[in-house]
Amino acid sequence: MNNFSREKFKTGEEYSRALFFLSPFIFLFSISLFQVFNLTLFQGDKYQTIAESNRIYQKPINPVRGFIYDRKGTLLAENIVQRDLYVTPVYIEDSSKTILMLSNLLDMPYELLEENYSRGLKKVKKFDSFPLVKALNEEQIAKAKVNLDSISGIEVKATLKRYVLHEETLAHVLGYVGDISSNEIRRDRLLAELQNTQIGKTGIEKEFDYILRGKPGIQTQERDVKGKLVRVLDTQGAEDGKDIYLTIDQKLQDYLFKLFENRRGALVAIEPKTGLIRALISSPSFNPNILNSIVDTDKVESLFSNKESPIFNRAVSGQYPPASTLKPFVGLAAIENEVISWDEKIKDDGEFYVEGDPRPYRGWKENGHGRVDMRKAIAESSDVYFYTIAFDLTLAGIRPMLDSFGFGKKTGLTDFEANGLLPDKKWKLGYKGDFWFKGDTINLGIGQGYILATPLQLAMAYSGLANRGVIYEPQFIQPADEKSFKPKKVAEIQLSDTKDWEKMEQALVDVISARNGTAHKVFDVNSAVIAGKTGTAQIKSILPGKEYDAIRENPALRDHALFVGYGPVEDPKLVVAVVIENGESGSEVAAPIVKSAINFYTRGFDAK
């Protein structure tokens, strides 16, 4: 009975109170019903007329996308007007008749228009419109203006499309734009109000989209029954996107792009003292305008299915074995760890053996370089010398130096960068399922084996050599005033003897200037003095008994050619990394481009 007394307490009044407090809602509910009755039955005719005739639209006004300029104010990307022919199926009485009329007027095949029409019809909601013909030409626009104005359901709409002036030259730096996808809206709610505008998909267009895109406005329009504009009632202007000035030197970029002659490869040119990117090339390239305004879908498809992958940005995402270009860093590690001194010589007779292993590690020169010290080993690129010091250094001795120069780490320049690969024991066990062998360390000594670097990482590492250990953050945005610009340091490498920097530089100068240097072919008394290093990256290991000549028959297996260098050495202005895929010889194909880049940049012309 305990619960009974508790439960029965003062019962009865709850229900009447509930009804009392429900009464205002019942009242409002009844009034609402009466209002619906009033609107639909007493005023129904009036509202019916309004709904049919006085059609007021609120149409978003798209902001104008900001322009992109180079460091000197040369226009790189702008917007152009594209006129598309839109149809609204619900207002078209006889579609086949209309299509026939359009095909005659615009001088286009009937079948094509009909196909576009039926394809568009499936995609849109009942009252929506869709583009039937994209990018009308001048003649079509003129004819459409005269003849189509009075026809309902047809409208020529003008939209702004991104237009890149230097087409292929800057494609990978600028990237391209495209329509906003529903996935992108889910990630960034702000994009929802920007519908029907383009946003950046890759490159600068994407990374700085938030600056370039602007904010949309709203226009209130009155339209008649057939959807034709009667008048504009109100306009709230859009806030246009802001312009961007890039660190790119368009003249340098143009000049260097031509030197690539469409060979597969990449180039990165940075000012070592500021980290400002002056040129960045990935070849073969593509015309971003094909993607900025998609008119021809076949062209787009062939771009993406092209085996040469023109859209892929080799300069920041391409990962290559650094090969001999890694030697200066291995050399510094050896000096720093006192594995060897500058004067100590090693006998290079073309082969290196590890005790208890009959397999030879071969140098690139069959009979070797004789007795070499560090300076000569760099200049002539002696493999046996670096096999020896790498073996003595061990992985633990090499890795910290490479790590401090940024190998295996993103530089932070763009979101599209690859990591590169600086292998260690854990990595090998995890990814290859095998232990780290001495042979792996020996290969690492000449930049082969597992290590991979992007051209950007190579340029950054060499800027560290040019700056005596300091590496600045790379960037694409031109500072307002270069002289007062304070770049951000990302690394500061200390050597126990600062003279080691000069000594290494001297060895790198020898690569070109000394008679025995691997890149002496490009030596030129009129040129700025350049410090640099050649590299020839094997992409297929030569098995015993097989010669390189057999491999080279397949062009896709030929060695990659590399050269990384900076100059003029008195006051380094530019560091340049060049990779030519399957180019075979760094000194023949890559070094001339680096030399031209430095001379063109510092003197405005190329010394021949």
Binding site: A18, F29, Y47, E52
Partner: protein
Amino acid sequence: MQNKPLSFSVDIRLNKRKNLLNFDFSIVFTVFLLGLFGLAMIYSASGSYTLVLRQAMYFFLGAILMITAAMSNFRKMEPIYLNAVWIGFFFLVLVLVLPNSGTTNRWINLGFIGFQPSELMRFLLPISAAAYLTRNPQIKLSDWIIVLVTTLVAFILVFLQPDFGTSAIVLLSGIMPIILSGLPWRFIIYSFLGGIGTLPFLWMSLMDYQKERIYTFVSPEADALGSGWNIAQSKIAIGSGQFFGKGYMEGSQSQLDFIPESHTDFIFAVIVEEFGFLGALGLFLLYAFLINRLLYVAKSSNSKFAKLVSATLSIILAAYITLNISMVVGIFPVVGMPLPFISQGGTALVVNMITIGIILSLRRTT
């Protein structure tokens, strides 16, 4: 410990298996009818299969939870209800602390789904309040005060998001159990007068867009293209529907996107445009029938707890229906409030269906 005798005695009655499905099927049927009609209307208003599929997923989840709640022995878990409100507070604080994406802080994102803690609170608060007020045979003044303070804290937390409409509902959901449980009338009148006294302060703390909505309501013509636009377009849609409506998917106002938020708050306008006065009348009758059946529990139950919970939840539901419709037809200021069982929005749908399930179980177990 004092709950023991109650739980025990109720247990014996409820363990009869055949009782499990003995609930009011006319209510379940009405809710299903409304929900399915809602899915069809969301498709018409948005034209998006994705939205409909998401909503259908919530509807399915809600149906399972509703039936489960209806079959459960609701009163057996009274100690749990006493503390349920803390879950609500946890999420309300969390939503304010977490970084937000826009100007308002209403959502908690769990990766693939998000939910609104305020919707949860307006359902947990009255249950906890009712459990607290009926835990002893005699209600003391301090009990009412504690419930009132709890309610005000919840109200302020939702108000801060800011969400004016839902905060008013949360306030109502906490105050109703106090009033219904027998608070003397003079207190009710004093508090009412006191509440009017705080109105100026409330006005000052409103966001600009909220004030604008009230201005708009007072004189819609003043800003016919700005915030009066929504109401004007909504009225055109309703009026042009006339007696029979323009037909499903044929409403030009909604199909041409004249109606803002047409698949959420303004979905009633789409319904009347496409199904006319007849459709509106049908919907009104369905809602009236539903509320009437739900209130029957409050009338017939002999448990005070059941009376408080079912009456409060029914009033909240009625408030949502009425305020949404009167806003859409233009006789009430625009407050963001969904139309129960029909508007697109997962949290509201699931919470409303659990509410129905709980009332069903209260009815069955009395």
